[in-house]
């Protein structure tokens, strides 16, 4: 069933919408959850919460892409679990490696700036950064920092050497950090 048809089911409050969403995106969202969460139970809960959140938010939402919509819900739910995990045991090793790489970008900010800059403003900068990238580099960045793919998985997917993936991502992080420092330095 096409996304537009599934979304119509949500709007008609037809519970087949949940089954169709699961049929279409169980594996896709499961992969995102598995990249972030170490335990099977956490991943299952995350997926179940994804379907529930989707049901509860459509309507009033009418996403252009159901696929991207559920991906973001799964990702956010998984990140929330990690954020509130005091023991630091819920995330996978690869997710932790990605977080550390992204933290390098935060070195531009002081604590006061960090308080002022919300995720939306940062997202705006990241979108502008991504828009300016060539397609293949943009895909690498999104696979690593949205999907949390391992470097090895990215290298396999795009038929590249791991060292090339790492160095490309490093250069891109530096470029983004420079952009953030330039564009958001005025907020200080």
């Amino acid at each position: 069933m096409r996304d537009a048809e599934i979304i119509e089911l949500y709007w008609k409050r037809d519970q087949r919408a949940i089954r169709e969403t699961q049929n279409s995106y169980q594996r896709y969202c499961g992969r995102i959850a598995a990249n972030l969460l170490a335990s099977y139970e956490d991943r299952e809960e995350c997926l179940n919460d994804t379907w529930l959140n989707t049901w509860n938010s459509i309507p009033p939402q009418r996403p252009d892409s159901l696929k991207a919509y559920v991906a973001k819900i799964t990702r956010n739910l998984a990140l929330n679990r990690i954020k509130h995990d005091r023991a630091g045991k819920r995330s996978t090793g690869e997710a932790d490696a990605s977080f550390e790489e992204l933290e390098q970008l935060e070195s531009f900010s002081s604590d006061s700036v960090e308080d002022q800059i919300g995720a939306k403003a940062l997202a705006g900068e990241i979108n502008a950064f991504l828009a300016a990238q060539p397609l293949e580099k943009r895909k690498l960045f999104v696979r690593r920092y949205f999907y949390f793919d391992s470097v090895q998985d990215i290298a396999d997917r795009y038929d590249m050497k791991e060292s090339t993936v790492k160095s490309t991502l490093l250069r891109m992080r530096r470029e983004l950090a420079k952009r953030l420092d330039t564009d958001m330095g005025g907020i200080r």
Binding site: P63, S65, K67, E106, E114, I126, R138, Y145, Y147
Partner: protein, 280 residues
Amino acid sequence: MNKTKMAEAMGEIDDRYVLEADMAPARASHLTFPRAARWAVGIAALLSISVLVPNVSSQAAETLGNLPVVGAYFRLVTFRDWDYEDASHSASVHVENVEADGAETGSAAAEAASNINLDMNLITDQLMTEFKAQVQADGYSALDISTDVVTDSDRYYVVKLSTFVSEADGYQESHYYTIDKTTGEEVTLKSLFAGTGTDYITAVSDEIKRQMRENHEKDSNKTYWLDDPLLGDQNFTSITDSTQFYINADGHLVIAFAEGDVAPMSMGEQEFIMPNSIWK
């Protein structure tokens, strides 16, 4: 420090980047199916060709001497070339992507090409996924996807993605993408009427209904989902912002509907040419 803050910000990126990164990479290699798949006895042949080859239309080449303001030159480049055939399934997928030659990264022309290609490739991917699932099931199925340049005038570049899916029945659907060469931007119905002050939804819808009634009067075999008390809210009432349209080679606005959308499936896809007075 919140270790997930930057990661959370990445979660707000544009949907098209999320989708684009999940598309299967185009490879110059043989078709891959899950290794666990076992094909039914009687499969006749399996062909898979994935080649990236430049494809410049002669009409597009002729316009090279009259480069539009945007300075980019649009052309189609083969993106996916795949054929499959067995005893009860066949597929022919020949999809080209729009290339904005000479456009700077991040420019309107580059962005228009990127968005159009993403949309065409998503549609193609979804149909191919459904077809591959059908191959493992009983019954007959066929898939045909192709791209064409509909218009390449001084002002507009129009690409059409044609899809035909056949299982028990056949279903034809076309998707049109119109680029304004003077701005490099993809045209929407809304943008065509911007600044006119026209309620274009009503104006275009009323004209379509007028043509439907006129066509039926001239030929009673032409019936539409219009004014039929049995259909109720299934009757055609109005276009939307996402209704398919394009600018044809004569510079006319054409509104296009898929099979079954506004008329019986047997009448095929339907097109209505708008008089210039409505939108110019």
